[in-house]
């Protein structure tokens, strides 16, 4: 086992060197190089966590799988938050509550009213969009030009407002979407449910779709333009207000999807929004504010860190499970101190330029 590890480590190291050397050439190559480097660092850190004497491979793989699923969820949440941050320059601390609104709206139609799946999804998202528009019009448009402190406090207050609205309407109980689940047994220890497969598949599809949208479509490019340099975009005739509204809606859509996917796998509770927001925030900061691939990377790193670090023994000692959430916060703080720009983040000069 040790030789295998050494061999893998060596191979990755070579890849790493190669990637760094290629840095200056074509954009595609440099992107590929950066990704390869990221992957190398990442896989190595996971491999380091694994100690064959203390755990079977199968168990470890199960934790890696858990991490991947959770990571997909976080990546989706982080994506919405990052997009909004890029365009509006402020952190939406009610992001988790948007996710919850989406899932509760869906729950109302799917479970309480018994509608079939697709109409429930449509209706759920419909309600989410209407509420998002209302919120944007009433609370953010008036303070568009205010110092960043004000929208920040407003989003904090909004989070509490929405959470308690949900508590009022739906009562503070956890709810199950369904007691049934289809289970796929892969090996003795490893099983995966349809809900989890959905999370991974939908999340990855959405990520790809979003990237293509931002790179290829006119609207996507307009959004990127506004995020990059608002004044220049305005001069070029891009309708800023409309772009902002559209970005809000996309962000809400991503959040709502994440919320609904999570509801099938976990439970639905009005208090869950805060955790979503903080984890999304941690992922965005980890990956680098303003960077879309950063948000995705941050989400996955967070997911893996949470699940693997909690589950593996460190020389016989386990991190207690109830510190799982605290882990996200600790990672957040460490990143802020050590590398505030995150992994893919823009350098200090770029941010200062705005």
């Amino acid at each position: 086992m040790a030789t295998a590890k050494a061999g893998a480590g060596g191979a990755f190291y070579l890849l790493y060197k190669l990637a760094s050397a290629q840095n200056q050439q074509s954009r595609i190559l440099s992107l590929a190089a950066r990704s390869a480097r990221g992957l190398a660092e990442f896989t190595t850190s996971i491999l380091i966590c694994y100690n064959p004497q203390e755990m079977q491979l199968e168990l470890f793989l199960k934790f890696v799988l858990n991490g991947f699923i959770q990571g997909s969820l976080y990546a989706l949440l982080a994506l919405g938050l990052s997009l909004l941050y890029g365009v509006l320059r402020f952190a939406n601390l009610a992001h988790g509550e948007y996710a919850l609104m989406g899932s509760f709206a869906f729950y109302t139609f799917y479970v309480l009213l018994g509608w079939p799946l697709l109409p429930s999804l449509a209706a759920g998202f419909g309600i989410l969009f209407i509420v998002t528009l209302l919120i944007e019009r009433l609370t953010f448009t008036p303070v568009r030009d205010a110092p960043p402190l004000i929208p920040l406090v407003i989003s904090i207050a909004l989070g509490i407002f929405l959470k308690n609205l949900l508590l009022l309407i739906f009562e503070p109980r956890s709810r199950l979407i369904t007691a049934n689940s289809s289970i796929l047994q892969i090996t003795d220890f490893i099983s995966i449910t349809s809900a989890q497969i959905n999370i991974a598949v939908v999340a990855i599809l959405l990520m790809i779709a979003l990237t293509l949208f931002l790179k290829r479509t006119k609207l996507g490019k307009a959004i990127r333009a506004v995020a990059d340099d608002r004044e220049a975009a305005a001069i070029l005739g891009i309708p800023i207000k409309r772009i902002v509204t559209i970005t809000f809606l996309i962000s809400a859509f991503l959040a709502g999807t994440a919320g609904i996917l999570a509801a099938f796998d976990q439970n639905l509770h009005p208090n869950a929004g805060t955790a979503f927001t903080v984890k999304a925030f941690a992922a965005v900061i980890l990956g680098g504010i303003g960077s879309i691939p950063g948000a995705v990377a941050g989400g996955y790193i967070l997911g893996f860190a949470e699940n693997i670090l909690i589950s593996i023994p460190f020389w016989g000692w386990y991190i207690p499970s109830n510190y799982k959430d605290a882990l996200a916060y600790i990672i957040l703080i460490l990143v802020l101190y050590i590398r505030p720009n995150g992994i893919f983040g823009k350098s200090a000069e770029e941010i200062a330029r705005k």
Partner: protein, 292 residues
């Protein structure tokens, strides 16, 4: 009388908490969302020392306050340089880590069980058993602290803090040590919060982690923003308004399971409206959006 005395006692405690935060946010301009965690640390340290180690209430409260100040100092040193959103993220994280730690470490802090039978203060051997006694005690302490704050705010130190809030770059160009002053004001605000927390623990005689959740933080934010951040009387005004509002809402014919979330909805809505229309608060100066 007992009933009203209790309300006034609670008002004193919250006035301290909010004024402490006013120093940090209103005067120092730092959007720090771990303030209730400071309160919690003060409360827990004092409670643990008096219940488990037999310290007197006086030492407990003093040590609790100092512990909070020390913690704030340690945490402040790296964070004061942060930009708004980073500061929110970092302090959010810190506050939650403290709360989770208190919740998980049962052997040390009692965990979810909390700490019971915390003694009432007994200055000069006379135990302050009734609410009226506590009210008088707390009024005296609160007035004393407020006088100190008044003096601090109206000294050159206070003015330099305000100048930092208005324009950090200009202030540092004028030679003021921005970083140091921010740390000082943060620690000062935290000390007051720790004091409020310790006194709270000894008044209610019970403390558990549910007092330091993020929901409570919103109330602190609201109080400072509503009354007028950066003004001396603002927090005092909002304390009376908010505690009064809360007690008055009790008497409405609304079922409790509605009243609970409704209170928070109203608080949040008021905060949003204030931030949109009068961010300097009810007692604050006229706000010119164009200036910044």
């Amino acid at each position: 009388m007992e009933f009203i005395a209790n309300i006034i006692a609670i008002m004193c405690l919250f006035a301290l908490l909010y004024q402490g935060y006013n120093l940090i946010l209103g005067y120092g301009g730092m959007l720090h969302v771990g303030h209730v965690a400071f309160m919690g640390v003060g409360a827990y340290v004092s409670a643990l020392l008096t219940v488990k180690a037999g310290f007197s209430v006086l030492s407990g409260v003093t040590l609790g306050t100092l512990a909070t100040g020390l913690l704030a100092l340690l945490l402040a040193i790296p964070t004061v340089r942060f930009r708004e959103d980073y500061l929110v993220a970092a302090t959010l994280g810190m506050g939650e880590i403290i709360r989770i730690f208190i919740l998980n470490e049962r052997k040390l802090t009692g965990g979810s069980f909390g700490i019971v039978n915390i003694p009432r203060p007994a200055p000069f051997g006379v135990e302050l058993a009734s609410n009226v006694d506590m009210m008088i005690f707390l009024l005296i302490i609160t007035t004393a602290v407020m006088l100190c704050v008044w003096r601090i705010v109206h000294t050159p130190f206070g003015r330099s803090i305000e100048s930092i809030r208005e324009d950090e770059i200009a202030a540092s160009a004028l030679g003021k040590n921005v970083w140091l002053k921010k740390v000082q004001i943060l620690v000062l605000g935290a000390l007051i919060a720790g004091l409020a927390g310790a006194l709270f623990a000894h008044h209610i005689q019970f403390i558990d982690p549910s007092s330091i959740t993020l929901d409570r933080m919103i109330l602190v934010l609201l109080a400072v923003m509503l009354g007028g951040s950066g003004t001396f009387w603002g927090p005092i005004f909002s304390t009376i308004l908010l505690v009064g509002l809360f007690e008055a809402m009790r008497f409405l014919p609304i079922p409790s399971h509605v009243l609970g979330p409704l209170r928070w909805i109203i608080y949040a809505a008021i905060l949003i409206i204030i931030m949109i229309h009068k961010p300097t608060g009810l007692l604050g100066k006229k706000f010119s959006r164009k200036k910044l």
